[in-house]
Amino acid sequence: MKFMSVAEGVEFLVSDGDTVALEGFVDLLPMAAGHEIIRQGKRDLTLVRMSIDLVYDQLIGAGCASTLVFAWGGNPGLGTLHRFRDAVENDWPGALEIEEHSDAGMVNRYSAGASGSPFAILRSYLGTDLPSQSTSAKFMTCPFTGVEVVALPALNPDVTVLHAQRADRAGNVQFWGVRGAQREAALAARRTLVTVEEVVDRLERMPGDVVLPSWAVDVVAVSAGGAAPSHVPGYYERDGGAYTEWGRLSRDRAAFGAWLTELKAGR
């Protein structure tokens, strides 16, 4: 584990063509790390996330992704992700392959990856069109009951990126709030980058927290406010206005272009 800046961490861990999971569910959106990926002009990424929102809309609009693996994509509570739609519907700014799963599918694919299992099985894809549009879902028969199941391949990102409340000086990372697929995504990854609000001498444990041991973390980067405008329990609330503003701004390619230019200029 190394402490670095967000920019150094992204440069050190993320390469063009990588499979990258920026996880976090509702809370703890790794926004600062996503912006740095855009600034560094990473290309041809396979972006993976259970539930994609603003930061993926931005990464897709900025042309960082060639493939998206996901279960849901929206501006939470508000509606459409315009850059995501524009990419899928109009190939703008480039073609975007998609691989669509359910939330449970994504969670269990990470979990299989974290366990060293080659695949996960579930029954909930039966009857849906998910298996028909994906090479990453195959029918199998249970050898005990004869019922059909769907197998999904383990998901082992090259890099998983998370935002957490804090780390200690040894690089152990602590987060709390909505616990999505972060833990499984981090343990399934070949490399993990965690941005944190602060570094503390000692992690005071609390009910319902998750501690990722330092050996599951490659880089910790301090980034106070690095998950804004999402909610970071104990640090800051969700900035609903920023979500609304993104919905407005992102609707238009030119407005998005101006936003992107500003972001890359360093803001």
Binding site: F25, F70, E89, D103, L126, G127, V178
Partner: protein, 250 residues
């Protein structure tokens, strides 16, 4: 009283279909409004579950997202999302999954992914399945809340994200699905329920002031009308007051 809007009637009707002491896995929007209204009227022990891990959430204001503090801070227990998806939803521990959708077909199959064109480079890309496959497979029953229109109520959905009854009665059983499927589709015009023999969605009730023909016209397939088609009672004073106060205070 006549001063209510169709979207209010939809929420009121959906609330009345929720029975006390049942556990509901809810989407944000009308589904959650209906559950909150039911809790404040006939179903005080209704149990609210959200994908964010909230078990027995007790929101006092309408949540704007499943991560809203009104859910997380009031839940009896907050489990992880994997726990909720695997051990609660997929395991069939939820009585009612109440969700919205973009498109539904004659056999209650639901689409939240694409509209028109092929799957790749579709005409309209929607948000995607989220946990709807799990809800359709495993929840005791599914309540679907959506506005009626011929473009949304179609002969066959463009993509199945949440399995209803496939191409008819018996298909759920053949797949060995543990849940009961979409037993109620509540719209701004009335209520569709699957026919017991065929599982085709049929008109079971209309909202007050709505004509059966209006519903047929707003449905993209040749909607069959139950001989005993009913009419919902208009929202009571209490229902409207509560719903409007909730909406105002949020």
């Amino acid at each position: 009283m006549n001063d209510y809007r169709p979207d209010e009637m939809m929420v009121v009707a959906a609330a009345r279909l929720l029975d006390d002491h049942s556990s509901c896995y809810l989407g944000i929007g009308p589904a959650t409004e209906a559950a909150m209204l039911a809790q404040r009227t006939h179903a005080p022990n209704l149990r609210l579950f959200y994908e964010s891990g909230c078990i027995d959430a007790a929101p006092t204001t309408i949540p704007g997202s499943i991560g809203d503090p009104s859910l997380l801070a009031t839940a009896d227990v907050v489990v992880s999302v994997p726990f909720m998806l695997n051990y609660l939803v997929s395991a069939g521990r939820i009585d009612v999954g109440a969700i919205g959708a973009a498109q539904i077909d004659k056999f209650g199959n639901i689409n939240s992914s694409i509209i028109g064109g092929g799957y790749r480079r579709t005409t309209v890309r929607l948000a995607g399945p989220a946990s709807h496959p799990e809800v359709g497979y495993a929840c005791g029953r599914v309540h679907v809340l959506m506005r009626h229109s011929p473009r949304s109520f179609v002969e066959k959905v463009d993509f199945v994200t949440c399995f209803g009854y496939g191409s008819g009665r018996g298909e759920r059983e053949r797949w060995g699905m543990t849940g009961g499927g979409p037993t109620a589709v509540v719209t701004d015009l009335g209520l569709l329920r699957p026919d017991l023999a065929t599982a085709e969605l049929t008109l079971a009730a209309v909202h007050p002031g709505v004509e059966v023909d209006d519903v047929v016209a707003a449905t993209g397939w040749d909607l069959r009308v139950r001989p005993d088609v009913g009419v919902f009672a208009a929202p009571t004073e209490a229902e409207l007051t509560i719903l409007r106060r909730l909406r105002r205070e949020t």
